[in-house]
Symmetry: C2
Subunit: 170 residues, 2 copies
DNA sequence: ACTTTAAGTCAGCCTTGTTGACATTCCAAG
DNA sequence: CTTGGAATGTCAACAAGGCTGACTTAAAGT
């Protein structure tokens, strides 16, 4: 198994990881792990006037500075009314800057201000501490498997979005 | 590496999977994958008068029939008022049955009715289809890694809850 | 000129989380 | 036997963050 090869006709024994019980454990692992995944930034945000929605917006603006509202909408998968609400508060609070597009003046390009970057760093650090600890405990092979399964779990459009972001950041 | 051993002083090369960029990709993978993870049951539920909270309750009642409200509270990590709201609607709608405890009559033990089990099966099937496909695409080694990382990402109390459930189901 | 697109806004609704206050019922310890 | 605490349930109020629908403005495309 170490070489990763798989016989053309997969034997019954190899399918034991696909039993309903195994799938259920995977489902429950996702549920509990996601709670841990969001717990640390949530704790920080609860002291401020922001929530998880702000965290997501701030994360992806930091990831792709100058992104348009429409692009962010596609990444986040919410309506523009929902996004606009969190965006407006963060612009008012001086965390996000909205600049009119040069070539297309209808578009607004979004950037984090210094204050925005500071908050982003605080939230990211908290989330990365847990992620780093989990990755270190699990080891590189487990991390590779983790990412493989997560990618396979995404919708096709999300896979493309994820890959595009991944490649832009490398 | 196949034997899983790790030198006492971990070399720099082995830590490449712990760079901030790798961690960020892991964080984004979790975000996008969780959306996929919940998408199918959410679609089914949107046609009914229920939401994700109902799905979670119904899942764990099915998993541990006869569980008390308090126990369910600990698993789900919400307040009793939140849980009570979804529980009440499902009891009214005849999906969940609440029986007074025998030894301790303060406790209510929760069971799914036939209708409840039918809905649970419908939701689980939808979620399992995606999970099975992701697991199959990724292969058994990746799945093992996936679960290792997820477990390491949980809070300690969630790990215990998760393990207890896992062992009760095996 | 007309249509489409990007963005923003207003109003209203739903789900799901939160606190706080309070009643009931029952077990168990003094 | 009484009383304190635990488990449950309920009411009220509120907030975050989703949603739809309708509409405006401005710019771009055709």
């Amino acid at each position: 198994m170490a070489d990763g090869r798989m016989p053309a006709a997969i034997s019954g024994e190899n399918l034991l990881f696909l039993t309903d019980e195994q799938l259920r454990q995977g489902i429950e692992a996702m549920f509990f792990a996601y709670r841990g995944f969001t717990a640390d930034p949530d704790r920080i945000l609860s002291n401020l006037a922001y929530g998880r929605a702000h965290h997501r917006a701030i994360h992806f603006i930091n990831r792709a500075p100058g992104t348009t509202v429409n692009n962010l909408l596609n990444i986040l998968g919410v309506t523009k009314q929902s996004l606009n609400r969190v965006l407006r508060t963060m612009i008012e609070d001086g965390l996000v800057e909205s600049r009119v597009g040069k070539s297309d003046k209808r578009e607004r390009h979004l950037y984090l201000t210094d204050a925005g970057r500071a908050l982003e760093g605080q939230l990211s650090d908290a989330q990365r501490v847990r992620m780093r600890s989990a990755f270190r405990d699990a080891g590189p092979d487990a991390v590779a498997g983790f990412r493989t399964v997560l990618e396979a779990m995404m919708d096709t459009e999300m896979q493309r979005t994820y890959t595009r972001l991944k490649e832009s950041g490398a």
